[in-house]
């Protein structure tokens, strides 16, 4: 079970959180004209990288904030977590 640092609550066990997928996905703007390809990529296509991955987690059994986690997908090592409005380089 992972041990995740919520930026607001501190270290908590994984069972308090829900996984939210790739944090780098950017929703097209409202009313923006987008091609089928771009829309399909946004809705369906996700990279499945081996190694470092910046992803969203949701502290559902805690503060209910969504936040970012940089995690190694093979070792589960977590390098850092950050609030949504912070960047992880």
């Amino acid at each position: 079970m992972l041990y995740i640092k919520c930026p607001y609550c501190g270290m908590r066990s994984q069972n308090e959180f829900a996984y939210g997928g790739d944090a780098n996905v950017k929703r097209p703007e409202l009313n923006e004209e987008v091609s089928d390809k771009i829309w399909d990529e946004f809705v369906y296509l996700r990279k499945s990288p081996r190694g470092k991955h910046i992803e969203l987690w949701h502290h559902i059994s805690g503060c209910r904030q969504w936040f970012k986690v940089q995690r190694d997908t093979t070792t589960h090592e977590i390098f850092r977590t950050a609030a949504i409005n912070e960047d992880i380089k």
Binding site: M1, S13, V34, D36, V43, H58, N85
Partner: protein
């Protein structure tokens, strides 16, 4: 019966406390502190089971977790447990155990014929034989294998024992209480660290219990006792025996099973049988020790062939002799300790040492005690069927290829030592690579991946002085890092006999013309020839060899067999062991009771139960409840002998005719507040929200980004910046997460907050033609006329002084209202409604009537909004705004979603107007068409229409729009029904929606 293999005065068992137990129906005695194994050996019982494949006789091989043979069916306090290791099961008064895998008895086992047919049971036998013909699998092969294989049988009764889970945090978790565990725990604890020390066995001390070493001018055992009692007194230390740390998971989460009551005749009141600890440790000291490995020789599975260290443990801990004429076969010095121990107790062993000329302190001591030692000698084969009677022994050449003349030697046990294998399971589970240590011919942990360090013999360090030094230092360094304290304690002096180098020898070659079986895996009956065959057949990867031969796949997970298996593969392949590699060490290290894994989350505790504030009223009024997610909701209220059908029909009819009331507390409720709330709703829902006036409700549909309907419900504008959203019961949690995602991640600039208010409000839906009369009576000061409170209107009022929210919304298609009061007033509201409703013939109605009412009016719900349908499919396309953008809109123009013959919700009526159509039935054109019969749609919901008094269903049907009036068949192969049906409009009641607006 006398314990003829028990020594007087030797050992740690309590001679004052005699314990009686039964094995295979026969009564025996042992002592408090015995294991079932030690007590049986003391009584001269060496035959305890039959092997997995060949049903060969099985005795005892080890004295702990590594035991491959002595697996019994245990009976305790009216319960039974299969797969119980006799070497670990402590004796208690009244214990009963039986042999497994033998029929009709352990002494005469019919399956043993497999032993003589063994040429038919080679490696891969199951794969090769039970494959064809395929049709034989379920009826013939599988039952045969299931009967022939497996150890014991699980109880079919509900387990009445209680199991618990516990979460714990510590600075340092120490796994094992041998010298390295005690040293690291003690020095860390003395430096202020919060320490948990876990020991699998009942007694602390590990190898110190049986060694002759001295630490700090006392025996190792005394030193261990002193350290343990000191640790037990320290407030920052938790010391646990009978506790196995069996799994090392991510981020230093370790799981430990504590056997609290397994050693007692019955579990004490208010204590669990076992407790599973989830331990989040800042650091872990893996001090799990090492396991002696066997040397492979002919018939090495005969009862009486035991590990030399086990023989020593039976002797020193239990005062029990594994035999009175021991033959000791070794390639290293440690077996001499066993030999000396026998000799000290008046038993003269013969020692065969594969080495030609070893020289060490302990060998000199053995020589001086007149022990018969034969260098360059090996055991070729054990003789005897149910117990060792003799051994064939011989001289072996320096290169270990040539055997000399074979001679027979009488013996009743063979104590074998092939050196030591570090227990690296936890380290490997942590993610560490392993490395092969040539000095000890075994794998040791590589670089640490998590915050853990492996100490002592688990790390390949077999020397006490080094072990103590590194472990004391590790405990200090780890604790210093965490506590920042600097209290370093001195390392005690230790003394043990110096050991000489072991011999790399591990397998005795077969003499010419002899075909002795030489076993590697004792539990799964995998022999040298099985591995050879697998390699001849082309298996190379050690993982494949394992699965093909089942080497290491038994309940002992190859603790004594894996390394010898690797040695064999590497010698055949002419590779070095590290390039062959090893199979993965997966948790659990030892079998874990399923009950412990489940813990308290069983039966009704497997999920939380949510009840509405009116629950007790429903109970008192004969409600029959149904699970709705985690909620309990009244399904119907039973009167007299009514069944579900009659009761729900009565309730639904009463709504259509008079007035009914339904508990709708479970609906999800979300407060949406903030200056941008309208804009947010406008983006979330498919329809327009910017112009909703205060005091009005609106029905809305929300989509996922892929265009699929996520949920529906009404949202009411309470005040300028405050909206009250409702969701379906099932989707409430998902909708809240969905809203939070868009507010926090996608549109953080929107000034809106959302919070669940589901539990703050109790809700009652009042529906039926007489509902306005009832409302007027309930709210005397309120004008509830259609003009003042029209359909989709909202008003706040009070119910006999209790603040209430009144929504004029309808799920039933009738004139209806929903009243919300604060939860604490829910029951008050309900009773008021029932009381006032009497004169209008009010009846409460449950979810079944609720479904009937919504189905016959064609109101889509969860069975249509099933995660596969878009608004069009549900007839909700009128609610999709063309003007504004919203979540999921872009997906709705995908080709499949705009296809001319797109599926759509329709009504379905059986032609005979009698036969109810099973939900899930497929709609087809031709009932007799060849399979696969093209499916046009499926029945999503069925009811008995109270309006028309015949069955009615909703269906999602291909090209549903143009199918009205068509005749099709509803087919349910599950229920074996084919029903001719007609497709009608989904709005079977009041298609123009006049009643809700009346």
């Amino acid at each position: 019966m006398s314990q003829e293999y028990r020594l007087d005065k030797v050992g740690l068992v309590n001679r004052d406390k005699k314990i009686s137990f039964k094995f295979n129906g026969k009564k025996y005695f042992g002592y408090e502190g015995d294991t079932l194994a030690s007590a049986l050996i003391a009584n001269g019982v060496h035959l305890v089971g039959r092997s997995f494949k060949y049903h060969r006789p099985r005795g005892f091989f080890g004295a702990g977790v590594d035991e491959p043979y002595a697996i019994v069916q245990l009976y305790r306090n009216g319960e039974t447990d299969p797969n119980c290791r006799a070497t670990e099961q402590e004796l208690f008064e009244g214990l009963e155990a039986k042999s497994v895998n033998c029929w009709p008895s352990v002494n005469f086992d019919i399956g043993a014929i497999n032993n003589f047919l063994n040429i038919f049971l080679p490696a891969g036998f199951y794969y090769k034989t039970f494959m064809w013909p395929r049709s034989f699998w379920y009826r013939i092969y599988e039952p045969f294998i299931r009967k022939a294989a497996g150890f014991g049988s699980a109880s079919k009764k509900h387990d009445k024992e209680r199991y618990e889970h516990k979460y714990e945090y510590c600075d340092l978790l120490v796994t094992g209480s041998g010298p390295s565990g005690l040293a690291s725990a003690y020095s860390a604890a003395k430096n202020g660290a919060k320490v948990i020390l876990a020991e699998d066995k009942p007694r602390f001390g590990g190898s110190l219990l049986t060694s002759e070493a001295n630490i700090g001018n006392q025996s190792g055992k005394e030193w261990a006792e002193k350290i343990i009692s000191e640790l037990q007194e320290m407030p920052n230390v938790t010391v646990k025996n009978r506790s196995q740390v069996f799994g090392y998971y991510d981020h230093n989460m370790l799981v430990m099973s504590e056997r609290i009551s397994d050693h007692l005749p019955e579990t004490k009141k208010f204590t669990p049988k076992q407790r599973l600890w989830y331990i989040r440790a800042k650091e872990v000291a893996i001090s799990s020790g090492s396991i002696e490995r066997p040397i492979v020789f002919g018939n090495n599975d005969t009862p009486g062939v035991v590990l030399s260290s086990a023989a020593k443990e039976y002797l020193k801990v239990y005062g029990v002799l594994v035999g009175k004429k021991p033959l000791i076969f070794t390639n290293n010095d440690s077996a001499y300790e066993t030999a000396i121990e026998f000799k000290k107790n008046g038993i003269t062993p013969v020692v065969l040492d594969s080495r030609s000329n070893p020289d060490s302190e302990i060998i000199s001591e053995a020589v001086s005690m007149d022990i018969d030692i034969r260098f360059s000698h090996v055991v070729v084969a054990a003789k005897g069927y149910k117990k060792v009677k003799k051994a064939e022994i011989t001289k072996i050449s320096e290169d270990k290829n040539e055997l000399g003349k074979i001679e027979n030697i009488n013996c009743d046990c063979i104590c074998v030592s092939g050196f030591w294998t570090p227990t690296i399971h936890l380290s490997s589970q942590s993610g560490n690579k392993t490395k092969f240590d040539e000095k000890i011919d075994a794998f040791i942990p590589g670089k640490s991946k998590q915050n853990e360090t492996t100490l002592g013999s688990a790390n390949g360090v077999f020397n006490l002085e080094d072990t103590l030094k590194t472990s004391f230092e590790a405990g200090y360094e780890i604790s210093k890092k965490i506590t920042k304290n600097d209290n370093k304690i001195s390392i005690p002096q230790s003394y043990e006999k110096k050991q000489s180098k072991h011999d790399k020898f591990w397998c005795v070659p077969l003499p010419k013309n002899k075909k002795y079986k030489r076993f590697l895996d004792f539990q799964n009956d995998v022999s040298v020839t099985d591995i050879e065959l697998a390699l001849r057949e082309g298996y190379r990867s050690i993982e494949h060899v394992k699965r093909y031969t089942t080497l290491g796949m038994a309940t002992d997970q190859g603790k004594t067999s894996n390394l010898n298996g690797l040695q064999l593969v590497s010698s055949i392949e002419n590779k070095v062991v590290p390039s062959v590699g090893h199979t993965t060490f997966r948790p659990p290290y030892t079998p874990v009771c399923i009950g412990a894994i489940v813990g308290r989350e069983i039966g009704k505790h497997s999920k939380p139960t949510r009840k509405s504030p009116m629950h007790s009223w429903h109970e008192k009024n004969n409600a029959v409840f149904v699970d709705a997610g985690v909620w309990l909701r009244p399904r119907y209220y039973k009167r007299g002998n009514e069944n579900l059908f009659l009761a729900s029909k009565r309730e639904a009819e009463n709504v259509r005719k008079n007035v009914g009331v339904c508990d709708v507390t479970t609906l999800g409720k979300i407060d949406v507040k903030g200056p941008d709330a309208a804009e947010f709703l406008n983006r979330v829902y498919t329809n327009a929200w910017l112009k909703l006036p205060i005091g009005k409700a609106r029905y809305g549909v929300m989509l996922r980004e892929d265009g699929i309907v996520m949920d529906d419900g009404t949202t009411t504008r309470i005040s300028e910046n405050h909206y009250h959203m409702t969701t379906t019961t099932a989707q409430a949690a998902n909708v809240l997460s969905h809203l939070e995602y868009y507010l926090q991640v996608v549109w953080p600039k929107l000034n809106v907050n959302v919070v669940s208010t589901t539990e703050q409000w109790a809700g009652a839906a009042i529906a039926g033609p007489k509902s306005r009369l009832l409302m007027q009576k309930l709210f005397k000061d309120l004008d509830v006329s259609n003009e003042s409170l029209p359909f989709m209107g909202y008003v706040e009022s009070n119910l006999s002084g209790v603040p209430a929210r009144i929504f004029r919304i309808s799920f039933s298609g009738e004139l209806a209202y929903e009243v919300n009061v604060e939860s604490d007033n829910g029951n008050f509201m309900w009773e008021k409604i029932m009381e006032a409703g009497q004169e209008f013939q009010i009846q409460p109605y449950g979810t079944e009537a609720l479904s009937t009412l919504r189905i016959e009016m064609g109101h889509v719900a969860g069975s249509e909004l099933d995660g596969r349908t878009i608004p069009y499919d549900n007839g909700l396309d009128g609610l999709v705004s063309k003007k504004k953008d919203f979540i999921g809109k872009r997906s709705l123009i995908r080709k499949a979603f705009t296809a001319k013959d797109r599926q759509r919700v329709v009504g379905v009526v059986p032609l005979d107007k009698k036969t109810s159509i099973p939900e899930g039935s497929h709609l087809v054109k031709d009932a007799k068409a060849k399979l696969p019969n093209p499916k046009l749609g499926h029945i999503s919901a069925s009811c008995w229409s109270v309006e028309h008094n015949n069955p009615f269903s909703l269906a999602i049907l291909k090209d549903g729009k143009n199918m009205i009036g068509q005749k099709l068949f509803a087919m349910s192969p599950l229920k074996n029904k084919t029903i001719p049906v007609e497709i009608v409009s989904s709005h079977y009641v009041d298609p123009k929606g006049e009643r809700v607006r009346s």
